[in-house]
Amino acid sequence: MHEMALAESIRDLIDAQAAREGFRRVCTVELEIGRLAIVDVPALRFALDIALRDTIAGGAELVIDEPSGQALCMQCSNSVELAQRGDACPDCGGYQLTVTDGDQMRVSGLVVE
């Protein structure tokens, strides 16, 4: 449900960037949403469709990169891929995992005119 708030933040970020860089249209919005981020990507797409309507980014293509979750296992000291929080370490079966990547939510770039 907070995806609408995130979509509005993205809109504000684009507006601030437009004021600084002086572009008049956004063709592509590139996002990086890690698989462990607290975001439902389909819900975010839906919210962005509404939040960006009637802005300079209205109708822009959304390119969403979803990097996988990475964690450090405290039990076996390996860096492992983590599909979701609460999963066991694929190497040793332990649960002492610290997420090291894949929880980011970023606007990585814009293609503008």
Partner: protein, 261 residues
């Protein structure tokens, strides 16, 4: 090779202008065969909220205020635990409360009735408190130096996990009338919190809740989470929670910068 777009080195790439790093890295260039120019932003979507949260954290630290963000499902007993906490600490520790709900000021009234200043934030259709609204509410509260600020978030185990308010700790509450698998059903919140209050333990004889299993799940999500088992109704287990709060208040006072004392 541009590290941020990964599109190789064949495109014209211009770096003449100064980078403005407080707004992220912004260099324009044109991709071959692509309309327009690409701006690299690499900006956190929550950057605005996080800026407000950082400002709140700085302000509270300067005041030696110990701030907590209480989160749970609706009905876990956040307000009841707050009322018991206020009754126990009132007089010894300056207290203030920020209440978040979609509608009504019922919770703020319950806190007022317990004798402590409280401000209600109604989020309307919103599902979480954000750092901007909480910062304003905190400014409107009489918030004494060296006090305890308790922020009761909207009852929701998903959205508030993403929004830092500037608190010292997120405290997640789970009650034994819920499922013991909530930590693995809603892992983001149990990962974001560093304290877990297991409430309504007076009801354990009447429900099938498996405490050991719940704590196993919680530690699976968050190995370092600190757990307090308590009952706002019977009072069982509350003293350990109060002791932890007093320790937090003492630490916040000790860490208060000298010049603001």
């Amino acid at each position: 090779m541009c590290m941020t777009c990964g599109c190789g080195t064949s495109h014209p790439h211009s770096h003449e202008h100064a980078h403005t790093h407080e707004h992220g890295h912004s260099h324009g260039y044109t991709h071959a065969g692509q309309k327009g120019r690409r701006l690299s932003l690499e900006q956190d979507i929550l950057a605005e909220n996080n800026r407000y949260a950082a400002a709140n954290r700085v302000a509270w630290r300067a005041q030696g205020v110990f701030a907590l963000n209480l989160v749970s499902s609706p009905g876990s007993g956040k307000t009841s635990v707050l009322v018991r906490t206020i009754e126990a600490l009132r007089g010894a520790v300056p207290l203030a409360v920020i209440e978040g709900d979609q509608q009504t000021d019922n919770d703020a009234q319950r806190i007022h009735a317990a004798g402590v200043p409280a401000i209600q934030i109604n989020t309307g259709k919103g599902c979480h408190l954000d750092a901007h609204a909480v910062g304003h509410a905190a400014q409107d509260l009489p918030l004494s130096d060296g006090g305890l600020l308790l922020i009761e978030n909207v009852g929701n185990l998903v959205c508030p996990a993403a929004f830092d308010l500037g608190e010292a700790h997120k405290v997640v509450m789970l009650s034994v009338t819920e499922g013991e698998d909530k930590p693995i059903k809603y892992p983001d919140m149990f990962a974001a919190a560093d304290v877990l209050l297991l409430n309504k333990i007076d009801l354990l004889p009447y429900v099938d809740f498996d405490v050991a299993q719940a704590l196993t799940y919680a530690h699976r999500i968050n190995p370092g989470v600190r757990v307090f088992q308590l009952s706002a109704r019977s009072g069982e287990g509350l003293s350990a929670w109060f002791d932890w709060l007093r320790d937090g208040v003492d630490s916040a006072r000790r860490e208060m910068p000298q010049q603001s004392r």
